[in-house]
């Protein structure tokens, strides 16, 4: 491949291997990696959710503040927020084509996912340290 005289790519482009989008397979890979992580974490989250049905605040804090539960919740929040940032980016890229609005929405997507992820993570840490 590299010895082919017809290859129009520069040596730098060949070494970087990022293709025409200049971002390589990073988006695809992280989307799949977080998707795989989300499966056991979502099952765990649903079990935690059901175990908290109808409990009062003290009981909910007691259960959520257990180290294992709190750590599972933190991993769940981290994985789903990163996954949903990638997913929403694809949705924006598919449907929004305005030169200004598109990059603004992609920025807003990152702002929202970081903010909601931090808010949820803050909640878990605060209730855990309060146990």
């Amino acid at each position: 491949m590299s010895g082919n005289g017809k290859d129009m790519r520069t040596p730098l482009g060949r070494v970087a291997g990022l293709g025409s989008a200049h971002s390589g397979t990073g988006h695809f890979w992280w989307q799949r990696l977080t998707a795989v992580a989300n499966v056991p974490l979502t099952i765990a989250f649903v079990v935690i959710l059901v175990s908290l049905f109808g409990r009062n605040q003290a009981a909910a804090q007691q259960i959520l503040g257990t180290p294992v539960v709190a750590i599972i919740m933190l991993l769940f929040i981290a994985s789903i927020t990163y996954h949903m940032r990638l997913g929403m980016q694809v949705v924006i890229e598919d449907y929004v084509h305005g030169e200004i609005i598109r990059p603004l929405l992609i920025m807003a997507n990152t702002f929202f996912t970081i903010a909601v992820g931090l808010a949820a993570g803050y909640g878990i840490l605060k209730l855990s340290f309060g146990v």
Partner: protein, 135 residues
């Protein structure tokens, strides 16, 4: 002279006319549930902060979630979560290069919707009638 009359060509049926194939519906549903779950994380963050902020904050959250609108949102969120997870597993199966035959695609699409509805109802029956609910 060449015949310039428009020939009778088959027309592509409009989206409202033809029967939607189930895999197509599940593809759209996967994206729609993903968007729903995206905004549903606000509810998770509110819930966790409410638990952390003590009985007062938690009662404001439960007051909302115990209205019929709140219950409907929570029910929809749990279904969307399970549906998106099963749809995601379907995509991971496709990533391995399997499940692309006509019958397999139909079967996977059917398993996604039947599985998500069954699991969601089961989850709510267990959670509502056997663990908590109106307490």
């Amino acid at each position: 002279m060449a015949d310039t009359r428009a020939r009778e060509r088959p027309l592509s049926p409009h989206i409202q006319i033809y029967r939607w194939p189930l895999p197509m519906m599940m593809s759209i549903t996967h994206r729609v549930t993903g968007i729903g779950l995206y905004f549903g994380t606000i509810l998770i963050a509110w819930w966790l902060i409410a638990v952390a902020s003590g009985p007062g904050g938690y009662s404001r959250f439960t007051a909302f979630i115990n209205t019929w609108v709140g219950r409907l949102i929570l029910f929809g969120y749990t279904w969307a979560l399970i549906h998106h997870m099963l749809g995601g597993i379907r995509h991971l199966i496709w990533d391995t290069g399997h499940g692309f035959e006509q019958s397999e695609r139909e079967w996977l699409a059917l398993a996604t919707i039947v599985g998500s509805v069954t699991l969601t109802l089961l989850l709510w029956i267990i959670g509502y009638f056997f663990i908590g609910g109106a307490r």
